[in-house]
């Protein structure tokens, strides 16, 4: 797991899910069962934007890129 991906996994489990529930790994579906709500998706986007140093346009926020943390890392942080 590269540095960006491991940082994403740690951020989501520690800061967004706050250790509640089963947590997520690199391949967990992020938006099933309401894991992440509208506030958390904004925090996740802000985290990605900070790491990559530029913003993400809304049109690029689609399920094929946000399916799980691995697809996010490959789409925005590689």
């Amino acid at each position: 797991m590269n540095g960006h991906l491991s940082a994403l996994v740690e951020f989501v489990n520690r800061d967004l899910l706050e250790g509640k529930g089963a947590g997520v790994d690199a391949d967990s579906a992020l938006f099933e069962d309401g894991k992440l709500d509208s506030l958390n998706i904004l925090r996740l986007i802000a985290f990605i934007e900070t790491r990559r140093g530029r913003s993400i346009p809304d049109r690029e926020i689609v399920m094929s890129r946000f399916k799980n943390l691995r697809t996010i890392a490959e789409s925005f942080l590689s």
């Binding site: 938006f31 309401g34 709500d37 509208s38 998706i41 904004l42 809304d58 926020i61 689609v62 399920m63």
Partner: protein, 260 residues
């Protein structure tokens, strides 16, 4: 009589209000009848609600968080002109349990927004026919897909060219970016879009709310689990304007004939 009625148009006044002249009122009635017929075949219950809605209902539905400047409030600030018909349904059903409930209602709806005056398809007031679905998540999700197909089938039966697109509400305020991107990500909103002149506008939308409204209005399934909801909304003036623009007067006259 209908041979003497000119085709007319859907006019957009400078402030966004809409005026229908000529065949257009009859065309809207004919379109509404066709949507009701499509709904009737699925066992939908018809209801009629006031155009006025309590501010408290919109607050409970989270309307002002999502669309802070869109409501048309009355001098009596307990009420607003309804921005969509479906809000009445959630309020009517508050605290109830249901597994498969479908309702349909129509009404004049009112939304202020920042559309430029020349935007052909965006009106302050417009007529919306809605089908509201509440019940078990898998049933609501299936019916939502079926209504996307029914809407495109209706367009095909009218020889109206449309496309289906995943969308996000363009009127979400800046504070509601999270709701907008989540809606886009989960493909909760589909729009049926049609060309009116140079513009391609949404003439219907089919929206899966999941538990958004159900949790706010305490709607549950019979086994006590949280219900889900969805709605299919048809903007009649936009359907009429698109038909006239795409197919011309003779076609419109044929469709409207039954209502003249």
């Amino acid at each position: 009589m209908h041979g003497h009625v000119f085709a007319g148009s859907v006019q957009r006044l400078e402030d966004g209000r809409s005026v229908l002249v000529g065949l257009m009122p009859a065309l809207c009635r004919a379109l509404d009848r066709r949507i009701r017929q499509a709904a009737g075949g699925t066992g939908v219950m018809e209801v009629r609600c006031p155009d006025l809605i309590e501010r408290a209902v919109l607050e409970r539905a989270g309307y002002f968080e999502a669309f802070p400047d869109a409501a048309t409030m009355l001098a009596d600030t307990r009420y607003a002109l309804q921005p969509a018909a479906c809000y009445h349904c959630y309020a009517l059903l508050t605290g109830q349990s249901m597994d498969r409930l479908a309702m349909t209602l129509a009404g004049r709806c009112y939304r202020r927004h920042d559309a430029s005056p020349e935007h052909v398809g965006r009106y302050w007031d417009f007529t919306m026919r809605e089908v509201v679905l509440v019940g078990r998540p898998e049933w609501v999700a299936g019916e939502r897909l079926a209504w996307i197909q029914r809407a495109t089938a209706l367009a095909a039966s009218l020889d109206l060219e449309v496309s289906v697109e995943v969308a996000a509400d363009p009127f979400f305020g800046p504070a509601a970016r999270g709701m907008r991107v989540l809606q886009q990500l989960k493909e909760l909103k589909h729009e049926i879009r049609a060309r009116i002149g140079e513009e391609c506008v949404a003439i219907a939308s089919v929206n899966l709310h999941e538990s958004f409204f159900a949790s706010r209005f305490a709607l549950r399934c019979h086994d006590g689990s949280p219900a889900h909801s969805a709605c299919a909304a048809f903007g009649l003036e936009r359907w009429a304007a698109a038909l006239l623009a795409q197919r011309g007067e003779a076609h419109v006259r044929h469709i409207a004939a039954s209502e003249l």
